[in-house]
Amino acid sequence: MKITVAQYAKTLHESVKDKSQKEIPEIISGFVKILAKNNQVKNSGKIIDKFSDIYNQENGIVEAEIASREVLSNMLSNKIKSFVKEKYQAKEVILKNIVDEKIKGGIVIKVGDELMDASVSKQLRDLKYKLSN
């Protein structure tokens, strides 16, 4: 039976959960050996991503990708963090700010598969659509 990426990630999470910092490297080393034995090292990136999802979900952590025209100030970053925290009922929010001049202004917030597009470029696209139809 083939073990899925999600199953590997879940197993790894269960293995390191509640373990001390000292014990973790040894657990990881054993896990990598199992991956190598099962010819699954190629999927290690996906397994780590899935592990992060499980870890974040369990610990109420939300990762948000914010696209803006300029680098966000600390004040704005904190405001966005609060917004995301409230919207997703999160304990902690990890923000990743991506500078994208093409959005022309405003922000685009991406959390998981959800996208909140409050950019100027989106409003321009909407305007063009309305005028064309």
């Binding site: 803006s68 025209r69 704005l76 022309k104 922000i107 409050a118 063009k128």
Partner: protein, 122 residues
């Protein structure tokens, strides 16, 4: 005398028979002619009916083709019109957006951008 009388009577009888045969043949000929005329008339009538039907069918078909041509032409004109309107609209929309974009590029400075961001998360 008797022999002569017999000859005469036979002659008369032969003449009468010949007359009867002629009459019978004439009747037969007349019957054949009548029948031929009737058959001929039937053929003519059938031909006329077929010709009339063909004429009507052709007329209906021609009418249908003409109607289809008109409908198709109407549709094509409508499609072309809509396509043209769509193209013009799209062109105008593109120009409006381009102009708006240019204005916004000049108008949205750092502080305006901050305001926009704040508005979107409030």
């Amino acid at each position: 005398m008797n022999e002569r009388t017999g000859k005469i009577e036979k002659g008369l009888k032969d003449a009468e028979d010949a007359q009867n045969k002629l009459a019978e043949m004439e009747k037969k000929e007349k019957d054949v002619l009548t029948k031929a005329k009737e058959e001929g008339q039937k053929i003519i009538t059938a031909a006329e009916v077929t010709a009339q039907k063909n004429k009507e069918d052709l007329l209906v078909e021609t009418k249908q083709q003409a109607e289809k041509l008109l409908t198709d032409a109407g549709k094509k004109i409508e499609e072309e019109k809509n396509k043209m309107i769509g193209e013009v609209r799209s062109e105008v929309a593109g120009l409006v957006v381009m102009a708006t974009e240019k204005i916004l590029d000049e108008k949205i400075d750092v502080s305006k951008d901050k305001e926009l961001i704040k508005k979107s998360i409030n």
